[in-house]
Subunit: 287 residues, 2 copies
Amino acid sequence: MRERLEDVRAQVQTALEEAMAALPEGELTDAMRYACIGGKRIRAFLVMESARLFGLRDKESLPVAAAVEALHAYSLVHDDLPAMDDDDLRRGLPTVHVQWSEATAILAGDALQSLAFGLLTDPVIGAPDARLALVRLFADAVGARGMVWGQVLDIAAETAVEPLDLVAIKRLQQAKTGALIQFSATAGAIMAGEDAGPLADYARHLGLAFQIQDDILDVTGNEQDTGKRIGKDVAANKATFVSLMGLEGAQDKARKLARAAEAALEPYGEAAGNLRDLARFVIERDA
Amino acid sequence: MRERLEDVRAQVQTALEEAMAALPEGELTDAMRYACIGGKRIRAFLVMESARLFGLRDKESLPVAAAVEALHAYSLVHDDLPAMDDDDLRRGLPTVHVQWSEATAILAGDALQSLAFGLLTDPVIGAPDARLALVRLFADAVGARGMVWGQVLDIAAETAVEPLDLVAIKRLQQAKTGALIQFSATAGAIMAGEDAGPLADYARHLGLAFQIQDDILDVTGNEQDTGKRIGKDVAANKATFVSLMGLEGAQDKARKLARAAEAALEPYGEAAGNLRDLARFVIERDA
């Protein structure tokens, strides 16, 4: 699975570079490229592995994988802005607004979102109906009912008098990171025009496990491995899965979710081996 | 033509409200709605009138018209941010970041972009291939080769040692406002799968005339009519068509462009009456 993840990383990096090679040279494109460097590429992996389950080739799923990573990169650039989370470190590098300016960070994020939607129209992905379904579901997953809505809930939580409870924090996670993870994991089924139900279940468990592990790493991790500032949640007195369930409770919950994610893959048998491994990787990672 | 513009305005307003009715209630959706209030709706008019030339009904072109207006609204919200043009007045109302916060303005803009792409997938628009062509061309028009690139050039111009010359200012305009105007004016031909050449010519002249008139209004207009701050270009010592050509030179150029825009519509005969009227309206408007 780690070999496949490396392979996905390399393919996605090439696809993103090719997509940006057609753009005018300058600060904007530099910032877009910079924002797309690194990352775990878990979303791209989900796209390409879910596509494989339905007999689709990497060539066909790659533009979709590149689209979700471009979109994810934009979301990080905007989330890191001073008006939002005000982060200066991301993926081990200065954030885009630190490296260039706030204006460049806003615009690079904006253009990465446009780029992502453009990638989903690539004819190599397959039938027009499948590509349109991707665009429609993607717009839903990343917009005011999905990712952006999650970021709004996250910001609201910071200034709320009462810290969030578990129900509220799950809803936040489902929107902020869950919706795009779900899109990624179901992309293969959508491309193939098949039932996305089992993959949606898998993604729901996986996404929550991923977020819990992120909260755990904010307590147990270090900046060198994670490439971002840690201890921020505690410092901000922010409700997290760890603050609400305790460190052991959170670890236990993450393990259960990873097992539930694996179980959801049952209909796909052996072919889903890499996706099963990912569920374990997500809760064992230290970065 | 003014009657038709009113009709387009009403239809687009309804379509945008319907699209946003499905979103979670709260500050984000409030800010998105607010950002979509008012405006001349010239882009929507271009979409719906170009669609009419090819026998398409309003019902079919309306989601595309709503998409270009949602996109345009997002671009204004982000352009007005303190890190960009730092404007406090737009369409006669406080800008979104003044009314709410910078974070809300960034996120409302982000979500409006997603919403716009989602609207282009509406099955009522027509064949899947036509909708995909719209998504692809839209992504190009609004991204790092189009609108966002134009905003980058605009910001760069403000800090440049040498003011822009006419060639540079035309390139800026073509990217910043021209690309979306061209998308809008050619949308009907794209939907119908017909040659978009004459409409692209029309849009190029119209877009430039529109920008020149904007520059003229920054000198001769007033805040009550335009709904935005005026005299900003002069105060910032910014190169504009007026500063480079003089007021009379700019007015003369705008008139010539409007006539060239009308001439480009020749292949469509009588049916293009409203688009011809728009070319005159664009240079006669005081708002």
